[in-house]
Amino acid sequence: MPTVAKVWIEEDCITCDACQDILPEVFEVTDDTSFIKAEVREDGSFDRNTGFSAIKNEFRSEFSELIEEAADACPVEIIKFEYEAGAEAATEEVAPAAEEAVAPVAIEAVAGADDGVLAPVMAGDRSLAIFFGSQTGNAAGLAEKTAKMAVNYGLEPTVIDMDGYDPAAFSSHKRVLIITSTWGEGEMPDNADALWNATVASNPPLSNVHFSVCAIGDTSYDEFCKAGLDWDEKFKALGATCIEDIKLCDVDFEPPWLEWAPMALSKIACVDSSGTFHEELLEAMIAFGAGEEEEADVGDFTPGQIVQADLSITMRIFRYNPIMAQSGYDTVAVALPGHASLEDALVAIKREVDGSLTFRSGSIAGQDPLTGIKANGRILPADTTRICDVVSDGDTLTIEPVPGYDVVKDLMVSYDRYDSVRAESKPWMEADPRQGERLISGAAMGTMTSAEATYLHTLADVGSLQLVNAMSDTYDVDEEYTGPGIALQRWVRSQDPRSGSAHVKQMFELMQRKGGVWDEADISSIQRHGIDGAQAADSLYAARARLLAEYKFTGRSGRLVKNYSRSVKLSGNVNETTLYRSVLGPLGLGSNIMNGVSLRMMLGFTRNGGPIMRGFQGMLVPPAGIGKIPNMFNGKVANHHEVVAIFNELDSRF
């Protein structure tokens, strides 16, 4: 069992106290960070131990295991340690001149080397030197992440701080990755400046080195990524082989780094111990690094397919502060696994960016009907919708509260409108006795067959009735409209064979009157919202057909369907003139005249200078009505008798 010789704390401690809870003898959390206690250190100092002072011998075996546990428990992974020299799991390939600066990350066992096609490169020396030039810690962080990833390619990485490194030792490495930021106006970061100057002065030969550079910069500066570009040019000039083109990263550096690292590692892992690059093994190495050769199924089941494609997207999130009565959008650039849910994305932003972001969170029991949001125009449950199903890599994802409901804060809406209407509409069971069935209490009990039960479930088989309401483009402009979600429930209850006749009649009346199914201005706006929208639309059409039969085509909507259908039967086409007259009636036509609608029609606004006479013909030719249609009667389509025959065959009411 190796013992820990040194432990230190890197930057960005979040003072969560986890390390102190595990090992208070070594760690003490202050207001800003965690310190290594003086009592256990050789140098007797009390700080983060960035000078890498060793732990006193008498404490090493006692605390080693707990130090490892604290490092594992650290949520931001900033507790670093180093084993005693010669210990079994310690890294062996520490660069000769970098002993003091190396952060040993390769403590995990190297991934099992493939015995098959990759055998030629997996044998022998697998060392990889990852140099970082860092001013604020970003490049150092990426270096460590790269090192962790490198293990998957059968490499043994060592992360090396450029500070104090001897350029003459560069040539001792066959595989080198450089990750560096640029400071100021194209300058090297402080920790890389001396090494750069020494390298330029000494020009060490690097003909046996394969390398690649990942450069971090800021495009708002003229000398974007200059430090990385300088290293890239210098290594090439010194004879090193560039195995993967330099990657230039802007301030949002993680997404481009994620593009660079797997490819650079795949290629550099194909360099064998003699320094020869085996390009023919690249494809196999990419698959090996991605873990595609691992057994997928464990146990007696086959897991579902997991889509892991990472997406780099821009999220625009609606914000509303009810106290200040202010609203607007926050924009955040994020990189997320595509299979994560929209709710996962919101949780991540709440955790990492703005803890005040408010939204409804789902339960663990499956889709929660209340987690709805509007994502790029679609009404969706946030908890069960994958990001990759809504947006593609590089796109913008706009998230807003669902329409039609009052916004409480940010993305959270109040469903009171739905709840109160549902209570008033009484869409629950009120049974008549069927076949003489009664409960022990004597109350009537309805019955139905399993086929009838299946049919009823199909009618309203949607995930969230609240969200079906929000799918309607009418719901948020008509406060009296009870919404398609309520209409669905009324329709189902009216079709339930257990429902009493009085209750069925009540459901019909509620659907027929103001606020009911006829207040939906365009069912197509619901129908396009996926499976739920299509199901809701089908049921609404069925409900309307039933109501037309029940109420004999009365009301404006009934007259519209009847006269539209008759118009088509009469000529094969629609005659809007007759429709206007018959559906609107004298009052409606008068309203159109008073509101200027008829005037716009006649004066050619719609024809962009077309013959105005077309508009006037509608008035001049008696008994024409007022409208865009010049002809009172359409000319009949060819073989019009076929259309009439179809009507006669399918619906003799028209």
């Binding site: 125009g377 404006r556 609608v597 024809r607 962009n608 179809i646």
Partner: protein, 286 residues
């Protein structure tokens, strides 16, 4: 020459003759040959469907069968017609019983049947972008639009499979086309929202509010004109815009034209009408 069976929809040869005026010359210019569907009938406008779903389906089956006799895929300039035709085709392909029922009636009444195995239906917009190519359109431009244009798609054809290669929820084909025609597309958020056209005659204020929402969003985004890919919705956007503005208490005053008109104008047809449109845009556009 690309060949299509042309379905005019419910209004292009009735109340919106400007569509018929413009689609014919623009198609000639761009090498699209339109074949009449002889004897075509109304698609039912999703209004007949409210009374009898099977009746609307069978009326569409007749149009499909007639187009199949032509031997060409169907093209239309109306988003609503495209949505209805596409839905009918999808229904018949996924539900053999529905197809068999429709064909039984068709066979008895018209002596024809629909196969639906190969025929497709497309909106003019998607044919121009996916098949003709915007570079060819751009090459044919004689009078560049040089205006800020809001593109209105409506909801009817904005569903997977019905809108070509465009994104059903965040479409941009019309914006690309406008750029090819020398115009400047403006982004606004309600370009796929409904204006309630199916209920234009039966509902009052809510349809006017839906119409005003689209027009006002387009105006606020800086558009000088609004172009509609839906011939039926154009009636709301144009004839009813004054009433819509008064009901919703919003600024809705903006020239509204059909997509076929604006394409034809840019290709050099009807320069007098285009001049009048530009004058109107200058006078009342934002």
């Amino acid at each position: 020459m690309v060949k299509y069976s042309y379905y005019p929809g419910n209004v292009a040869r009735q109340s919106s003759y400007e569509v018929e005026d413009t689609i014919q010359p623009l198609c000639k210019t761009l090498g699209i040959e339109l074949f009449e569907i002889v004897g075509y009938n109304s698609d039912g406008g999703n209004i007949i469907k409210q009374g009898n779903k099977d009746l609307q389906l069978t009326l569409n089956a007749r149009n499909i069968a007639l187009a199949e006799k032509n031997g060409h895929h169907i093209i239309t300039a109306c988003a609503s017609a495209q949505g209805i035709l596409h839905e009918a085709l999808e229904t018949f392909r996924n539900d053999p019983i529905a197809l068999a029922n429709a064909n039984t009636v068709l066979s008895k009444t018209c002596g024809i049947t629909a196969k639906v195995d190969e025929i497709t239906t497309s909106h003019l917009l998607h044919v121009l972008v996916d098949e003709i190519g915007l570079d060819k359109v751009e090459d044919a431009v004689i009078n560049p639009l040089n205006m800020d244009v809001a593109c209105y798609y409506g909801p009817h054809m904005q569903r997977a499979g019905a809108c070509g290669g465009d994104d059903a929820w965040n479409p941009n084909y019309m914006e690309k086309l406008i750029m090819a025609l020398g115009g400047r597309p403006v982004e606004y958020k309600s370009k796929t929202s409904s204006v309630g056209n199916p209920s234009l005659l039966s509902l009052g204020d809510s349809v006017m509010k839906m119409t005003a929402r689209v027009l006002n969003d387009a105006k606020k985004a800086g558009a000088q004109i609004i172009v509609s890919a839906c011939t039926q919705s154009h009636s709301n956007l144009d004839s009813y815009q004054g009433k819509a503005g008064r009901v919703a208490n919003k600024d809705t005053n903006i020239p509204a034209v059909n997509l076929t008109e604006i394409i034809a104008f840019a290709l050099g047809h009807f320069p007098d009408r285009f001049a009048q449109l530009k004058t109107r845009a200058l006078l009342i556009g934002s």
